[in-house]
Amino acid sequence: MRQKLSEATVEIVSDSGEGAQKAGQTFGAVSAKMGNGVWTVEIIPAEIKPPARSRAGASGIRVRFGTKAITNMGDHADLVVALNEQVLYGRLDQKAYKKGTVVLLESKWATDGLETIRTQFAEALERFEGEGLRVIQLPIEAACGEHTDNPRVGKNMFVLGMLCHIFDRDIDKALNEVKLVFGKKGEKVVAKNQQLLRAGLEYAAKNLDLAFHVPSTASDEPKLVMNGNQALGLGVMAAGMEVVSMYPITPATSASHHVAGSFHKMGGLVHQAEDEIAAVGFAIGASYAGKTACTITSGPGLALKTEFLGLAVMAEVPLVVVVVQRGGPSTGLPTKVEQGDLLAVLYGEPGDAPKVVMAAATIEECFHMVITARRLAEAFRTPVIVLTDANLATGVQPIKRPELDPEWLAPPIDQSPWPKGLAPYAWDETTGLSPRPVPGQKGGEYVLTGLAHTQGSKVAYDPESNERGLKMRSRKLASLQQTLQTPEVHGDPEGDLLVVGWGSTLGAIEEAVDRMREQGHKVSSLHLRMVSPLPLGLNEIFSRFNKVMTVEINYSDPKDEGPYASGAPRRRSQLAWLLRAETLVDIESWSRVQGQPLQPLQVEQALLEVLEATKASAGGKSPVTA
C-alpha cells in the first residue's frame, strides 16, 4: 500500500549537464497537470561549467508538491536522487536535508577505477550517515545502460521514471510531457526517452520499497506553469509595452530572453544597449516619444541607472523599471536571492525623487504587476519600480491562466493637436497630475529638462518654481496613496505578534504563521505590495498587536550579539527601518542573508523566539492560549 502524504519535497542533484533540471521540470509539470500544488526551484552552480564531482558544483532541482497550493520551496527535502556524492556537500551546508531524508545515490563511484574517488565516496557515506540521511545506493547509470548506449545522457529520464513510480505519477501524463519536451527533436528521440522513463519506473517498482501517494484534485481551470521571470516577460507583453531596453545581468536577463523569443510577434523591440545607463536612457527616450518602455535589471545595473531615474522623476517621464534583486552589496551573490534593494530604489537618487515602488510577492504577481505598473507610470507620469528577486525569478509554479484584456495594452499615442495654451506640466494643484504632450502633437512643442523648471518646462531662475515642482511631484504620491486599499491581515486582526513582509517571502511567512496558529499562537502576518507610497491604515493595524516585526532577506544586526553599547540602535532590515520612520512603532526585524529563500521552519523558529522574548518582557503573563 502506498503511504499517503499531503506533500513531498524531492531533489535531483548532479553535475551540471546531466539533465537533472529537465527531469525535475517534467516531474513538476506532470504533478501540476495532475492538479497538485507545485513549487520548483533550480539548484544552480556558481560557475558555468564547474568541474565534475565538485562540491560547489551541484546542479539540479528541487520540486515540492502537495495536495494544496504550494507557495515556496519548503524546508527539508524528503527524497533526493544524487548522481554523485560530492554534490551533496553543498546542499548539506545549505541545510537542505534533515534526519531521515532518503538519498538515492548512484553507486558506481564505490567501485571507480580511481582510488581517490573510492575514498571520497566512502568518506561521504560516513558523513551522510552521521547526518542521519537514509542512503540507498543504486547502480542508476548501469541500470539505465541496459536500455541505451548513452546512459550519461539518458539517465535523467530514467530517474524521472523512478520518481514517477515512487510518487505515483500519472504515467500517461508523464509520457505525454516527454513528448512535449522532446517533440522538436523528432519521434525517435521522443520514443527513446519514453522508453527510458518506463524503464526507470519499472526499475523502481522492482528494486525500491518506496511508494507514496500525494492526492490531487484535477481542476478544469486552465493553468500555466512558469517561473517568475517568464511571468514577468509575459506581463511586459500583456501590458502592451513596445520597448524592453536592457543590458544583460543575472538574475534579470532571463526575463529579457523570454521576451526576446517572442516579442517580435507582438511588434515589440528588445534593445540590448551598450550598458545600463544607455538602456534606461533609451527607454526614457522612447517613453518621451510616447512609446511604452521598460527596463529590466538587477542591483549593479540599478546603481548605474540612478542618475537617469532622477531625471525621469524630475521630468515626469512614465517608465517601468523592473529590478530582479540578487545578493549585494556590489557584485555580491549574482545568482542568489536577496531583498536588499528596497532603500536604494526609494532613496538612491540625489535630491528628492519620489516615485512609485511595488514588490511582487508571487509568480502570478510578476505577471500582473507589470500591467499595473505601466498604467500607474502613465497615469502618474512617473517612473514605477517593480521589485522581484532571484527566488521568484527561478521558482516555477502553476498559476491561473490570465484572461487577456485589451484594456491592459497601452492605448496608441495621441497625435491630435495639443490644446492651445495648455502648459506641458499643467499641474493640478490638488493631485500634482498633468497631461503630457507627445512629439508629433502640433502645438505641444516643449523641451523636457532635468533642470528645475516652470510648468511651461522653462528653466526656472526664480526660487519659488523649484519648490513648486518638488511639491507637485511629491503630491502625486499622496494622491496615489488615497486610492490604495489597506492590506489585509493574514490571520486574526489582533494578537501578540504581527509579521510584516514584502516580496517573495510571502509563501514562507504565511506557511510559518499558519503552522504557529495551528499550535495556538496569536500570530498574524501582513504582506506589502505597495512600498511607495505605503498604504494608509498601517498604524491602526499595528496598534492591535503587542509586537510588530518584519521578516526579510536583507541584512540586520543580529539581536543580543556584538559589541553594542546599551541603547545603541541596531541596524534593522530595510522594510523595518522604513516602517519605523513612517509609523514610529518599534518594529523589530529578523533576517537571513545567505543567498537562499527563507524556509518556513526558519521563520517559525524566529517568530517563536520573538514571541518568547515579548512574553518575558511582558512580565511572564502568557498571551498565548494553549
Partner: protein, 317 residues
C-alpha cells in the same frame, strides 16, 4: 540661398513654415559664442526642408551647447551630461516620423559620453549629431576637455593640459558601421549650412564636428585657422558638400575627395596643419538599426493579443 528652397518661392506649400516657426526662446549664450551660428543653420535647414516643428526633436546632454533644444520652437529633450545619444536613439527607435538633431559638446560626447558615441555610430540610426567642439568645458567654466590641445591652461590644468588631444574624426572613422563623418566651422555660415544640410539628408547617423568658438574661455583656440584660410582644406564632392560658388572663392586649398574613400578619409582626419572641412566619409548603404527597431509598428491590438495567447499556450499544462 545655397541652391536650396528659398523664402521667396512662389510655390508655397499650404502651411509654409518660416524661420520664426523654429525660433524658441532668446538664446542665452555669451555674445560671440559660436553656438548661435549653428542654431541659425539648423533653423534654416528646418525651414528649407519645411519640417513640421512638431515632428522635429532636438536632443542634447548638458553643457553650453546642450542648451540648444531650449532655443528651438520644436520638441526637445535636454537630458543628462553625456547621455544625449541613448535618449536620441530611444526617441527614434519607434518614431521613424520624427527628425532628430543631437547637440553635444566635446565633453558631453567625447568624455563622459564616449561609450555611447562608439555605439550610436554603430547603430547608425537616422539622425544628425552635431559635435560642438570648442575644446573646452564651457558651462562649468573652463576645464580641460578631451580635445583641449596640450599646453593650454585651464582651471583643472593651470600649468597646461598634458595629454595629447583626442581627435574625434579619427576615432569616429574607426567605429564600425560609421556612415557619415564631416567637419565644419562655426564662422563660415555657408559651409556650416551646406555641411549640416548634407548631414541632415544623409540616411543614417551623420556625425559633424563643428569647430566652435568660445570667446569666453578659449578665445584664441581657432583664431589662427580662422585668420589664415590656408589652414583649412575644402573638401568637395558631389556626394559631399558640392562645390558651391561662394565657398570656392573663400578657400585657396581645395580638394576633390570621394566620401566613400575610407583610407583617404582617415588620412585627412589625421591632418593637423591643414584641417579638412566638408564631408570626409559618407556611405548611405550601411545598415540602419532604426529600420530594425521600427519593425512591427503596424501591428494591431488584436494581432498582439492573438500572438500573446499563443505565447501563453506554450506554458499551459
Amino acid at each position: 540661398m545655397f541652391g536650396l528652397k528659398t523664402d521667396w518661392s512662389l510655390e508655397m506649400p499650404p502651411a509654409y513654415f518660416t524661420l520664426e516657426s523654429y525660433e524658441g526662446g532668446a538664446a542665452r549664450w555669451c555674445p560671440g559664442c559660436g553656438d548661435f551660428a549653428v542654431l541659425t543653420a539648423v533653423q534654416k535647414i528646418c525651414r528649407d526642408e519645411q519640417l513640421p516643428p512638431e515632428k522635429v526633436v532636438a536632443v542634447s546632454g548638458i553643457g553650453c551647447s546642450s542648451r540648444f533644444p531650449h532655443y528651438m520652437k520644436t520638441y526637445g529633450f535636454h537630458g543628462l551630461h553625456g547621455r544625449a545619444l541613448p535618449v536620441a536613439c530611444g526617441v527614434k527607435s519607434r518614431r521613424p516620423d520624427l527628425k532628430i538633431w543631437v547637440a553635444t559638446g566635446d565633453g558631453d560626447c567625447c568624455s563622459i559620453g564616449a561609450g555611447h558615441w562608439v555605439h550610436a555610430i554603430r547603430y547608425n540610426m537616422d539622425m544628425t549629431v552635431m559635435l560642438f567642439d570648442n575644446a573646452v568645458y564651457g558651462l562649468t567654466k573652463n576645464q580641460t576637455s578631451p580635445t583641449t590641445p596640450p599646453g593650454r591652461k585651464t582651471n583643472t590644468h593651470p600649468r597646461g593640459a598634458w595629454l595629447p588631444a583626442l581627435n574625434p574624426l579619427t576615432a569616429t572613422l574607426g567605429f564600425s558601421n560609421v556612415s557619415f563623418v564631416a567637419q565644419t566651422v562655426d564662422w563660415n555660415p555657408v559651409h556650416l549650412h551646406a555641411t549640416l544640410a548634407a548631414a541632415y539628408r544623409h540616411p543614417g547617423t551623420s556625425f559633424v564636428r563643428i569647430l566652435q568658438r568660445c570667446p569666453t574661455y578659449s578665445d584664441d583656440m581657432f583664431a589662427e585657422v580662422q585668420k589664415d584660410s590656408n589652414r583649412l582644406l575644402l573638401l568637395e564632392h558631389e556626394r559631399g558638400v558640392p562645390a558651391a560658388s561662394g565657398l570656392q572663392r573663400m578657400y585657396a586649398k581645395r580638394m576633390e575627395h570621394d566620401p566613400l574613400d575610407m583610407a583617404q578619409a582617415r588620412a585627412l582626419a589625421e591632418q593637423q596643419d591643414t584641417l579638412p572641412i566638408g564631408v570626409l566619409f559618407a556611405d548611405p548603404s550601411r545598415p540602419r538599426y532604426d529600420e530594425y527597431t521600427a519593425q512591427g509598428l503596424e501591428m494591431t491590438a488584436e494581432d498582439r493579443l492573438n500572438a500573446l495567447e499563443s505565447e501563453l499556450d506554450r506554458f499551459a499544462v
